[in-house]
Assembly symmetry: C2
Homo-oligomer: 216 residues x 2
Amino acid sequence: MGRLVVRSFAVSLDGFSAAPNQSLDAPFGRGGLRLMDWAFATRFFSARFGRPGDGAEGIDNDFVVHSDDNIGASIMGRHMFGPDRGPWDLNWKGWWGDNPPYHHPVFVLCHQKRDPIEMQGGTTFTFVNDGIESALRRAQEAAKGADVRLAGGPGTVRQYMKAGLVDELHLVQVPLLLGQGERIFEGLGGVEDLYECVEFTPSKAVSHLRIVKKQR
Amino acid sequence: MGRLVVRSFAVSLDGFSAAPNQSLDAPFGRGGLRLMDWAFATRFFSARFGRPGDGAEGIDNDFVVHSDDNIGASIMGRHMFGPDRGPWDLNWKGWWGDNPPYHHPVFVLCHQKRDPIEMQGGTTFTFVNDGIESALRRAQEAAKGADVRLAGGPGTVRQYMKAGLVDELHLVQVPLLLGQGERIFEGLGGVEDLYECVEFTPSKAVSHLRIVKKQR
């Protein structure tokens, strides 16, 4: 089975990966999208947003270019799929429009049942109601030996870290104060025995950390 | 009056500046002293610990060399003065022996009264029982126009940040997981309106951040 990996996951200098008050206009919460400015400034994202040739090459670009290497499926929490709460808004099919940038099976953790959605470009959204381990099993089967990317949000990453199910975590420390929001590292006492940081790669804008399971 | 500044203050990758279980052998809590490995590896600290000429020059060394520039007094919390709790152990006179590296007046925040202690080399410890603003006032008077360094620990820095009394904060993000401990950035919602990060200076080992009050 492939590994479960987190890639290009941003954390503010005070430890938050999303700000409060998520809405349609603020997928990372109010003011939270600035956590991704380092990525939006890259050549890779410029091309995705219709400005090929714009944006910077270098360390940050290298990381985002390779964030989907060997990824065969993704897992995300419901709030990363959409801003609505409670019963589904069936008109909402994710943040990314008709052709989302996943191009593989995506498993969405949620409590409310919903039929799968097939999007253009190979992305399917499947809604999983029976827990994080079931979602991981199904994603690993769908990935057919490739790795599974745990896309977010912070609450979802925290649950998988707490269960020791994440194999590798690429964090991006962004020198930005959010003041409040949601943390990955909250109530994770003991995580220091399971995981260690093995690479520290600063760019001009941010610090990239690679955190892996300790070898026993 | 001089400014209130924090210098060379370490934070783990999960946001902790001290580990639990502080003791005589573990001033930063169990396993927490690794937060200072980046500093101990510098030429400056090597000389302080009796190995002049050892240790590395470079970005980290530059920061610690200048951490006491224009500092005329310090403030610290009781746990940064000593590991004891409750009534004073009067035999304990700080972590640093007879000649502490402050060489100026140091104000210790605490609840239990205690007479001042005069140490060798110009360091005096004065114990302040009437709050953080009183300690700041007294430290600023003692500093005679120079700046006051807020030495720590994390709870003390957090209190002064919350009150908006810190003028400048030099944080050092260390790529190390502690799992649990004490945070500066806890319950500081609103701090993002008062402060901003204006400098990001990574070395090979850590990231240095300079955080200042926003200009209004």
